[in-house]
Symmetry: C5
Subunit: 356 residues, 5 copies
């Protein structure tokens, strides 16, 4: 496989009988690790899970359990985790195929959400992403990440400190909180891209170098990628808000609706950035065409002034025996006078035409 | 934070536990001030509110009370105002986050509307905006502004003078009136942009300088920003018209429908301006390409006339011992004749080709 | 107010308390005049109405009455006419605000339709428009125009002559007929624009001058304006066809459906013209780029032929003491031969490259 | 009327009272002729109809009658045919107005379909069209064409030979068959345009002359025209499939659904061709810009080599008394050596820059 | 028929009476061959079918039978296969017309699906396709291919090995599996195109030759073709999921829904690739325009430096009797000094303008 797999990378699955669990995506972590946070209004307990079997007891207890699984390459661990929680084979396939489109799927025993998470590196203006899958069951939330990033830390802090509504609420509210911090991370990314666009705008007006254009094009390509993730994210939240089942309590819907509004705002920002970058490309091209025009004018002015003059002095460089002007004492100064007159006339003409 | 925060600016909230009230936006005012207008068909009383507690009595009385809060940075004041009127935490978050998308939200105790307000400075053709949040409860309207501008003055005047239907109607009609003057302010902005477009059109035809193009691009960017606010504003009015609850009386719906029609008209104007600006960019580019063509033609005409002539006089500047033409008395006039013939032929040729 | 008000012109209303009747638009007529045509299957009577009070008797009689009001600047006359027919204040506001978007509105006592009417001046290819408002009540139709144009004359003729179904039918059929001639006038305008496009196409192929392009851009801008009026017109007819109330008789719906089909055809034509004009701009630009290419080739051919020759004759114009060629009797003819060979070689080369 | 009427041509109707039957379109035939094919499972009879009155007997008999009327300019014949079959005046107006948008209309006594028929001339790549109107009644189908083309011949052959289901089925199946051959004729046209596009593609890659571009633009304009006809055709078939009335038997719906699928396929092909032509325009423009670049490089290389050389030989053409180089015997060969060195250096430089 | 039939190729059917079975498409195979795999949970049998009559027994037995027919040119074999399984004539027409749009059709006796299958040759970046038709009846699936490619091999392997759910499930699950491997083959194609795009991106940044652009345009055209197939494929899966009939068991719907999600992901990828290719064209054009600018600058710098110098030395090449500078011993060095000053000044000027 080349170092940089393209947008769709399913070929590793090619020819295998359907239903085989294969990790599709970059191998970010060799080993899969899992941690659990088990909490209720009164208590809160955190520990590592050595194996999927240890997770079994969290499935049915009365507290809310959040099991965070990191690393998707070890498909056996994922499969045994799936067996512990009775997850549908299609769901497991979607978890390990990290090129999934964000989506929401209802199963009998659980609700499955998969979304894409972005990281924007401000310095290199480069975009990275990973897939995050969330499973909501009765009293538990499973989260699957390709790599351990700190995106969920504010939720962990809120559970530990017992601040906000989280400790008193159910697993559905935990799912909402996880989605909410995910959506907040989109705003972070867009904010940074917004700064990048502003700095590009300044550079564009100051000095429209080709490098500015290639940075604009890079951002345009990244907006295409983000847009591809945000659009279905909106659908996920919208579908979740319309869900009418036992997994989501009624009072959580108000929060989901708020998160949905945020995804619409994300879409708006993405579209606005796309429009702005398109305007900036137009601006660059017209600035470049203006500069080209300037160059052409300089060339034309120089050529138009000196070509007639060179012709004129060429005339009096001819070696004809009979050239009366050559013997006149006023000949030489007259040529200079004519040259200066022609040059001055041209300059006046170009001034009038606003080329100079 | 940089002086010019981009379109999305949520990073100040990053890492904080969900539910914390943080002002997002430019700090336009340090202190939060509040005024109340309390009126019924018979009486009308205006005063400043030193603290949120003073507002409590306006919550339940039989008159219509309009409390106008200016300045969003002092989140504690906002929070205590929220406590006084039993506002939902999500609602308060939306009020202080001044990068909200315009939206309408129904709560049990109130109706929440947030819209964006624009100011267009004609001279610099620059656009400013602030967020205005409106809360409609039983018998009261709360309005939250980032800065004290005069947009609501006509409504204040109408209440004081007792003109129109306002004094006799309920709080829902006050909300309609506030939205109506907000929408009217959009028409003001668009009208000014319309004038700017017309003046640009004239400049474009008179003298298509690069500065005209950058003014066009600036307007295009501003139309992107306005469009982002008008589109959801239309949805707000449409949703409000479809509302079927106790907050909005039946007879007010006819007025809301009218306001909705105005937002559609706004959308139409925005789209028309966008289309026109796009046509103007096309026009500029083709004018620029025409000018480039002119420049190239001048260069080509000059070069095509003088290059052969320069060659010819170069020939007779050669120092060969044996050049019969040099000793002929007709040589020199003949060269001049040939030169004039060549030049004249070229001019005729370019006339025919319509280059001259 | 500047001579040429932009698309939205509401600023004259700025700051006035809501509900004040203000004429928005160009003052086309100072005075408001009204005429009435009162007819039934048997009789038909036409007269001028000195004042709105005189119109009162036409409100309730058994005949169909068509009151045509011309001139919107005299808002007092409009207001008293509104009082006579119990028109809602919002309706009156829409009549005098002549920048309305075409729309249909149902009131308890009447049906209100406002549309835009276009005039296309073939010679100058310029587009003018005015707003026409129509009110359908029980047994009467009110029509409000900014200026007296002849668009409704065919309907007047049909009433007078008693041809067609008009005399035997109700006020709803009169409304349909008025809308039908309005829609026909759109076809007139589009037909003339179609001729303009065809003549532009011919000019474009014959001689693609910059003036052709600016005429194309002018038509593009006018199509934007027309499109902005036709699109909501389609909605008006569609809404009218779906109306299920007492104002429109069942048998009229077949005609309304026909008129609706015509508006769709209008939309199709508008979109087709837009697409064609876009193709024409593309065509112009590629023709311009072809011409530029031609110019560049001429320049390059001339320069490429004469620059080496000028260098060559320059060589033998040098004044070195020791230049053996100069004393040879074959030197001069040899230079000429080399020059001709170089020039011929270049010509052959450019022929092969298809530059000549 | 100009020789080439534009897309909309309703002006001949201008000012006439509504309901007057006027032929709108090019007068393709002066006289209107009609033929009838009357058939059942057992028998099949064909004959000319001298007048509309002769058609009356086919209206009510038990066989299926197909009356084909050719030529729309003789509106009186059309009117009397309309009277014979009780056709609604609006329907007759649509038949003679040959600029109709394809549509389906239900009347009490019949079903009315109007579609557009295209002919593509392969040699000139020019597109012609005519309007075909079809009326389905109980036991009869009327078809109205502007000109006698052979599009319906396969159906005539199928009736005569008694092949297929046609002879045993009702008038609705005949209508389906007529529409089916019409749709097949669209596929013919698109197939020919497909060949034209392929040949253009080859020409584009072989030798991108301006004539290729104008052929591309011609096809683009023709696709706009075809698209305008295919899009509503799809709606016609879709509406016909959804019809729930006595005119169309249940078993015919499967066939209509199939025809509908074909219209969707038509749309797909039209859109694909449009996209491909757009890509080809892009390709042409970038090829043209490449060629321009080549021309500019040749010019620049020539000028950059010869301008310094011409200056150098100019230096030694000066007539100063004191120029030590002139008297040196190595002066002349040295100048040549310097010239060759400069030229060679330039060539190496341009090779490195990949201009040569 | 030309070697390369265009997108629509129905002309071979022209003039034939409707209902005639004609193969439309390239004759990939002369003979039609058929194989059957007959399986249940317990047993699995594979054999060739010499004739359609042999297929009859698989129609009604209790096992699941998958009959794979390869080669569509021998329409008689197809017709007799159709007779054996009571297939509707319209269905048979669609099978042999290999230019069908992907679609799903319900018949009384069976469900008919036709899709397009793509093969992408990585080396030549060329795209091939064939049509695959699938018929689902009670206990059997018929598949029709134009050519024998290995796309269905994983399903054959899964049946033979008895892995997965296939052996225990019904014919509907077999249909799902066939569609699933078809959809997987789309991902393969898109993955390869993704690699092609990435390699193009690298080439574009390294050395933007015209060949890169024509490869981009080729991919753009291929994306148009793929998009035309993927869009209706999505509709097919969506319609199949909504089907409420006896052919598809309830538990299969979860799998169909999953396949539907994959088609949406396909669409997303296709659109993303289209957007990216559009950005790349923009990038190429701006790079080309930058290079042109460079060329022009070189030309202008050279001309601007040497034209004045050539004029200057031309002056002192004149043969006037009275030219005082000529006799001065400092004349010649002075001219050189002035030349070097002018050249240096120009270089400094162009450095400041950032042209050098």
């Amino acid at each position: 496989m080349p170092p940089n797999p393209p947008l769709t990378a399913q070929s590793s699955k090619k020819g295998l009988p359907p239903g085989t669990l294969v990790h599709i995506g970059r191998r970010k972590r060799e080993k899969t690790t899992a941690t659990v946070i088990d909490y209720s209004a009164e208590k809160c307990e955190e520990r590592e899970l050595p194996s999927a079997a240890d997770a079994a007891k969290y499935k049915s207890d009365s507290t809310v359990s959040w099991i965070n699984v990191i690393g998707l390459h070890d498909t056996e661990s994922i499969a045994s985790m799936g067996k512990t929680f009775d997850l549908h084979p299609l769901l497991l396939e979607d978890i390990v195929n990290s090129t999934q489109r964000p989506k929401l799927q209802e199963f009998d025993a659980c609700l499955f959400v998969t979304v894409r998470l972005f990281y924007f590196d401000v310095k290199s203006a480069s975009l990275e992403s990973e897939q995050v899958s969330l499973v909501l069951g009765k009293g538990y939330v499973l989260s699957f990440q390709e790599d351990a990033r700190d995106v969920f830390d504010p939720v962990r802090a809120a559970i530990r400190q017992g601040k906000g509504k989280l400790r008193g609420a159910g697993a559905d509210f935990l799912l909402y909180q996880l989605l909410d911090v995910l959506i907040d991370s989109y705003f972070d990314v867009l904010e940074n891209i917004g700064y990048a666009i502003e700095s590009l705008e300044e550079d564009l007006l100051k000095r429209p170098a080709p490098s500015v254009l290639s940075r604009i094009h890079k951002l345009r390509r990244e907006m295409i990628i983000i847009r591809k993730a945000v659009w279905p994210l909106r659908e996920v939240l919208s579908a979740m808000d319309r869900l009418d089942n036992a997994f989501i309590e009624k009072k959580t819907h108000l929060y989901l609706r708020d998160a949905y509004d945020h995804t619409i705002q994300l879409m708006d920002n993405v579209e606005t950035f796309r429009d702005m970058l398109a305007v900036m490309v137009d601006q660059y091209l017209s600035l470049a065409s203006n500069r080209m025009n300037e160059v052409m004018k300089v060339l034309t002015v120089i050529a138009t002034i000196f070509m007639p003059l060179t012709f004129l002095v060429g005339v009096y460089g001819m070696n004809f025996d009979f050239m009366p002007e050559l013997s006149s004492p006023y000949g030489y100064p007259a040529v200079w006078a004519v040259c200066i007159l022609i040059a001055a006339g041209m300059v006046v003409y170009f001034r009038k035409k606003e080329w100079l």
